[in-house]
């Protein structure tokens, strides 16, 4: 009898847990891995915030190889995860292929547009946030020279660079923005030593503000800038507190909000393109206790003016992606 009871209780539990699994969202991290101190980690933070606030649970997967992308998407869709959120443009091609096979599952892709009735594409206007960072950099630069250090030479990073250069030159038209990339393999996203070396090279050329858009490599850039006594600009997450008083600002990209919103909406997540721009709070320059003394009233006014200009369309920040060229470089 008691055996029967345990058996029944057991099967009841299985039913319960499978019902719960049915509604669980899922998050797939790209090849960089979950704890990259940058993009993927921001997504992870958003998912964790959702767990804390709702007490829900979610499935997460980390990619190991290119061939696994499709496998992971199909498996999650088949086991009933909904919505399935994935970070990174590299999923775009696979998602185009997979999404029509699972019309009842919602997919959310970050940093890429996939046109399908059950896909939400979240894109950020990195050029706008970077523009603001460029304005701030130009106002605090004495030499009129700034540096930009990117991870790999890919379009996304050019988008950051182009926005930054436009903001810088809007304030200092005669100014100069140096551009360097860390490497040519994915290891470039996690090479703080080389990032530091590049920062020192740019400093020796006269740069006194350095913006890093290079994932984990940026930690080394910020460190080198702090060591050499020049300012730096962080990226993706708020990195102001890494070197208080020496990081001018951070261009925050709220990937966490995108993930949090998608998880909260659950299976009702809206398909279509979701633009996380400046006015939607998708990108911004972080100002907090760590950098308050670096931002004077004049600079704050310039930031506000630029923000208003972008919102009203008066200032049009060119997006590198539209024509693969940058007017400011």
């Amino acid at each position: 009898m008691s055996f029967m009871k345990t058996l029944l209780a057991g099967s009841a539990l299985t039913v319960l847990s499978s019902a719960a699994a049915l509604a669980d969202p899922a998050l797939i991290f790209d090849l960089g891995g979950k704890f990259d101190k940058s993009f993927n980690e921001a997504a992870y933070v958003g998912a964790q915030r959702w767990v804390e606030e709702t007490g829900g649970s979610y499935r997460e997967l980390e990619m190991q190889s290119e061939a696994q992308r499709e496998q992971a998407l199909r498996r999650l869709a088949e086991t009933g995860s909904n919505p399935i959120v994935m970070t990174g443009f590299a999923f775009g091609d696979v998602l185009t292929k997979v999404s029509p096979d699972y019309p009842d599952t919602k997919f959310v892709i970050i940093d890429m547009v996939v046109d399908a009735p059950n896909v939400q594409s979240v894109v950020f206007t990195e050029e706008q946030g970077s523009y603001l960072a460029g304005v701030m950099a130009a106002m605090s630069s004495d030499s009129g020279k700034a540096g930009f250090i990117g991870g790999m030479d890919i379009p996304l990073i050019h988008k950051f660079h182009c926005g930054f250069a436009q903001g810088f030159k809007a304030t200092q038209p005669e100014g100069e923005v140096f551009l360097n990339f860390t490497g040519t393999t994915p290891a470039a996203w996690n090479d703080p030593v080389k990032g530091g070396e590049l920062a020192r090279a740019q400093i020796s050329q006269g740069a006194d503000v350095i913006y890093a858009a290079a994932g984990g490599t940026g930690i080394g850039v910020l460190q080198a800038a702090a060591d050499e006594g020049v300012l730096s600009v962080g990226v993706d997450s708020n990195q102001n507190a890494l070197h208080p008083g020496q990081v001018l600002t951070s261009m925050v990209k709220r990937v966490d909000n995108a993930v949090f919103d998608a998880f909260t909406a659950g299976a009702d997540v809206e398909a279509g393109i979701k633009v996380m721009d400046l006015s939607a709070g998708g990108v911004d320059v972080a100002i907090d206790d760590s950098n308050a003394e670096l931002v004077d009233a004049e600079m704050q006014a310039a930031i506000d003016e630029a923000k208003a200009g972008i919102a009203s369309g008066e200032i049009e920040v060119h997006d590198y992606m539209t024509d693969n060229s940058c007017p400011a470089s």
Binding site: L31, Q64, A67, Q68, E70, M152, P155, D323, N324
Partner: protein
């Protein structure tokens, strides 16, 4: 006289090494508080338990057969080609250029053209280190590994600046024309009415890989060229004395090696991705070294070792995807297998040899 029978040399020794590697892996898994039994089950089931798993295992194995053969051919000429990674990447470029710029109406036509493209660029990438080694004595290990980085940089430039469709975020080429897509193994099975491995990347390239094994065997052991390659590998002065030109053979062996590595792109670029992505090779070039060493530089051994690594790759991927075992541990398991089957080979071989000798002596005594 052979110390032990051939079967023991070829099958028993690697098998025991493998079991030892598995045992230590199990201890490691136990040490981080996971169940080794569950892990093993996930790996075997994920890689071999269904046609789905096999589809992935064979796909990875196909990659490793090509890079393994590449290392093997060079090794017979006593050249250690560790540039398979770069040669395969350039092979991918060859495939992409052939398929994007030559209009080909059918895959059966596209396949040989793409193979030529892949082999030419892969071989070209091996040619410069080869000529540097042959003429100037620049060590092939150094030059081939440096060429991996040059290949990565060149590919990055080509994909971002030249082949990427305007407006696309992804540093990847456009899709290849639909007509040139290779049939997957599941399509092939479906045409004879068997449902097998739906949505898996294994494709007809697998058969080309098998054919390549056979051709490489013929080349190395049944042709004059193969004899010259082996003669050079055994002793350069001996080869020179026999009238073999070391420069010529060095270059030819490396061209064949680079061409084979480049041909891997047929599988991953043409067969799987159907476009050229930045990170297409994913370390298969380096795994090829382990595959060749473990396969004792024989095509049949390479085939078996490639299957084993295909299993480890797919099983390991499943393990990381569906259990809480961190993905770094998969690398530990793979490294242990390489360590035991490659580096610590004699640890198993010598006791085995003694055992067989004793058995034989007993037989003679009786």
């Amino acid at each position: 006289m052979d110390k032990m029978p051939k079967w023991a040399d070829v099958i028993l020794t690697p098998l025991i090494s493998l079991v030892l590697a598995m045992a230590i892996s199990a201890l490691v898994i136990l040490a981080i508080g996971e169940s080794p039994w569950e892990a093993m089950k996930t790996m075997v089931q994920g890689a071999l338990g269904s046609s789905y798993g096999w589809g992935f295992t064979l796909y990875y194995a196909t990659n490793f057969i090509f890079t393994g053969l590449a290392v093997m051919v060079a090794y017979h000429a006593s050249l250690f080609n560790i540039g398979g990674e770069g040669q395969a990447a350039m092979g991918g470029l060859g495939v992409a250029l052939a398929l994007l710029y030559i209009p080909l109406p059918h895959w059966a036509l596209a396949l040989p053209v793409a193979m030529v493209g892949a082999a030419i660029l892969g071989a070209a990438w091996a040619f410069i280190p080869a000529i540097l080694q042959a003429k100037r004595g620049s060590h092939i290990v150094i030059t081939t590994i440096m060429f991996n980085f040059i290949a990565a940089a060149a590919l990055n430039y080509v994909l971002v600046r030249l082949l990427r469709p305007v407006g696309s975020m992804d540093p990847a080429s456009a899709r290849f024309p639909e007509a040139t897509n290779l049939p997957s193994l599941s399509d092939a099975f479906a045409s004879i009415g068997i449902e097998w491995g739906r949505n898996t990347p294994a494709n007809v390239t697998f058969f080309i890989a098998l054919l390549a094994c056979l051709l490489v065997w013929l080349l190395i052991w049944r042709t004059r060229m193969g004899y010259e390659i082996r003669a050079l590998g055994k002793s350069e002065p001996g080869a020179v004395y026999a009238g073999i030109s070391p420069v010529r053979i060095t270059v030819i062996a490396m061209l064949i090696s680079g061409g084979l590595a480049g041909m891997m792109a047929i599988n991953n670029v043409m067969g799987e991705a159907e476009r050229l992505v930045l990170n297409a090779v994913e370390g298969a070039g380096f795994i090829g070294i382990a595959v060749a060493l473990m396969g004792r530089n024989h095509p049949f051994g390479v085939l078996l070792a490639a299957l084993l690594f295909g299993f480890l790759y797919q099983g390991g991927g499943e393990l990381a995807l569906w259990t809480s075992i961190p993905r770094e541990l998969i690398i530990v398991i793979q490294a242990l297998v390489i360590l035991f089957t490659g580096a610590l080979d004699n640890m198993v071989r010598m006791p085995l040899e003694r055992l067989f000798l004793r058995l034989r002596r007993k037989e003679v005594a009786e």
